[in-house]
């Protein structure tokens, strides 16, 4: 597979690209910090151990003007694209976002508007090339309006619906959309949060995601237990949701 990854410098994106590099997929990395990108690419090259070079290019979700150029470079380097993976995203606690409207706007833009814009660019390219896989990380936070994630959850809810729509509209034309909904995963992102039961590790999560990509599963909860947890939370009456803390 020829794959471009946005957000592979850390977290689940790092774990996922490692698995892909090791099994011989060809990768191109996009991100906002050139030095981090170079180190991530080097790490992947050594792990792959197959003498294939991994290229990278600057792409910041806050700068949508750069999307086209970044994807152009990726496609040119790889000689076409079979997949686009988006693990880039930001998180902040509800308290922090309520106190800082600028931060709230930034999060809504990055996690929803810009991510969708990037996916639109990726979608066009994959469809022109005859199809491919678009794997995007949303969140269980988008499943239900919840007190600790009002704003972040709203952005992810929007992203989830967008990905669902894409899947309905374009799967017939060869665009396979995989929407990943992580529960709680112990990455650098889960700042200030004590881990709940069923918290996952990024490497284990990445293995699940990779098999979803290979099978073209439209929606996957990671770790798997979150599927059942969310089933329960989705069925709670509003009166209960209003009272509980989660």
């Amino acid at each position: 597979m020829r794959v471009v990854a946005l957000g592979a410098t850390r977290g689940m994106g790092r774990s996922l690209t490692r698995l892909m590099a090791e099994r011989g997929d060809r990768l191109f990395l996009l991100g906002r910090d050139p030095e981090e990108l170079a180190k991530a690419a080097r790490d992947l090259e050594i792990r792959a151990g197959n003498d294939l070079q991994i290229g990278s290019a600057h792409c910041d979700l806050e700068d949508p003007d750069g999307f086209t150029g970044a994807l152009d470079r990726a496609a040119a380097t790889l000689g076409g694209l079979d997949g686009v993976i988006v693990t880039a995203g930001i998180f902040a606690t509800q308290e922090a976002l309520e106190q800082d409207p600028a931060a709230a706007r930034r999060l809504l833009e990055v996690d929803f508007v810009r991510t969708v814009e990037f996916c639109e660019e990726a979608r066009r390219r994959l469809l022109t090339g005859g199809g491919g896989t678009l794997c995007v990380f949303s969140s269980v936070a988008g499943e239900r309006g919840r007190k600790p994630v009002v704003l972040y959850g709203a952005a992810k809810a929007g992203l989830t619906r967008y990905l669902e729509g894409l899947d309905h509209k374009f799967r017939g034309q060869g665009l396979v959309t995989v929407c990943v909904k992580p529960g709680f995963v112990r990455t650098g992102m889960t700042a200030g949060l004590s881990a709940p039961p069923f918290a996952g590790e990024p490497d284990a999560v990445a293995r699940q995601v990779l098999s979803a990509i290979d099978r073209g599963t439209p929606v996957i909860y990671v770790p798997g237990a979150w599927r059942w947890i969310m089933l329960m939370i989705r069925s709670l009456p509003r009166a209960v949701m209003r009272r509980v803390g989660f």
Binding site: A40, D43, R186, G188, G192, L193
Partner: protein, 442 residues
């Protein structure tokens, strides 16, 4: 950054209030910090923050490989990369980590800080002798390179320095060329202690990897009976053609009730383990994980010790200068009547460069002891013994030793203190263990 709850634990269950903060960006989270931890596989309080410190950076996510020289086998990586990951990636390419501890879930930083030893100590020394260079964040928050050529004092003090000289950010280490990724192993029963010490010495002449498991509960004529294991990397002609796949693991899902491990079940386990081994020598090709890290087959096996947890006492006794030292130690252990699931015996080679490194020539004994009200008293007695024999203890396993005992055993402490003072005059770096054993102020 991720916080992982409000208590930090060592492998044996010793805990401290505090939060572990993990990030890919180790240089960022170590700034201003007093201690870094890896995967918490040290048994006691080595990786726990001092009582007046509330958070501790964890290196586990900082695990990138930075460079690999495929000709010389020299690897440079961030400190959170684990030995298991290195083995998984490089064994198929015929390179092995040069010193393999009993578990593969150890970070490079933790391996350096404890200057770990393995079954090949008698020929290959500690990990320190394979380390080429270290990038450190020092107490004044600067980042320095250190090696045998550059800042040699802090390089040596950091090998075995238990994190007290600086935060290891990057490690450059030479891997070992191997003929195949499989192991040729042999094992045989040994009837008693004298025979054990003799057969370890004999095996050491021909075999790069040797170790013994001992039934610490057998007494009288059976004292020191056990199983001797020796191994070497298999030649390509003997080994399977495919590389070894990672072994499946089972998990102990929660802490078992404390009574499951009592002196009866431990005695039964030990006797069974001994008897299960046939009377003749077993030999053949084995998976490297089964040979080097047998306990890793059960994830969270430490939970079988229940809520109170356990500790380990590992010491090295100068059997040549003090013949009979090991026997006297085992007799003291038997007098404690606490029982021990696991007792590992190994002969150590020459002392390494690390200023506080554990190994020195002699016999190393490691015994797991459940935490009971009497455990402190038993550790004290064992330490009296070690002191009288001129031996020393391994800090990476220690939770209960007393400052007086440790300081009396450790003749190299002044040299270590001088270097620490030079690089950390304000005494910013410390751990729960250094407060307990070195008397670092809180």
């Amino acid at each position: 950054m991720a916080f992982l709850g409000n208590t930090v634990r060592g492998w044996g269950g010793t805990q401290a209030a505090g939060r572990e903060i993990r990030s890919e960006d180790l240089p960022a989270i170590t700034r201003g910090a007093s201690l870094t931890r890896g995967l918490g596989r040290s048994y006691g309080d080595s990786s726990l923050p001092a009582p007046d410190v509330s958070s501790i950076p964890g290196s586990a996510l900082a695990n990138r490989i930075l460079s690999f020289d495929a000709g010389a086998g020299v690897l440079r990586a961030e400190a959170g990369l684990t030995i298991g990951e290195i083995q998984r990636l490089f064994l198929p390419r015929k390179w092995s980590f040069p010193v393999l501890p009993g578990t593969q879930f150890v970070t490079l930083g933790g391996a350096v800080a404890a200057d770990i030893h393995g079954k090949n100590h008698h020929v290959d020394g500690t990990i320190g002798s394979h380390v080429r260079a270290l990038t450190l964040r020092t107490a004044d928050d600067s980042v320095v390179e250190s090696s045998r050529e550059e800042n040699e004092d802090i390089f040596r003090a950091t090998l075995g320095g238990m994190g007290l000289t600086g935060h290891v950010l990057e490690v450059e280490v030479a891997l070992k060329r191997i003929p195949s990724p499989w192991i040729w192993a042999e094992s045989e029963r040994v009837p008693n202690l004298d025979e054990f010490i003799r057969s370890l010495a004999e095996a050491a002449r021909d075999w790069p990897y040797t170790v013994g498991w001992m039934d610490a509960l057998a007494q009288g004529g059976d004292l020191g009976r056990g199983i001797l294991m020796r191994g070497r990397w298999a030649e390509p002609a003997e080994a399977p053609v495919h590389p070894p796949r990672p072994k499946p693991r089972v998990t102990v899902p929660f802490r078992l009730p404390g009574w499951t491990l009592n002196s009866f079940s431990m005695r039964a386990f030990n006797a069974l383990y001994f008897r299960r081994h046939p009377n003749r020598t077993k030999r053949g090709i084995v998976h490297p994980e089964s040979f080097f890290h047998p306990l890793d087959a059960v994830r969270h096996w430490n939970r079988v010790y229940g809520r109170r947890g356990f500790t380990q006492h590992q010491c090295v006794l100068p059997e040549t200068e003090s013949p009979g030292a090991t026997r006297r130690y085992l007799e003291a252990l038997a007098r404690g009547r606490l029982g021990s699931f696991l007792c590992v015996i190994k002969d150590c080679g020459p002392e390494g460069e690390g200023l506080l490194s554990f190994p020195r020539p002699g016999i190393s004994i490691a015994v797991d002891l459940p935490m009971r009200s009497r455990t402190q008293e038993i550790i004290d007695e064992l330490n009296e013994r070690v002191l009288a024999e001129g031996g020393r203890i391994y800090l990476a396993k220690d939770a209960l030793s007393r400052r007086e005992h440790f300081q009396a055993m450790e003749g190299r402490l002044d040299a270590f203190r001088i270097i620490r003072k030079r690089w950390d005059p304000a005494g910013r770096l410390k751990s729960a263990q250094s407060v307990r054993l070195l008397g670092d102020p809180v």
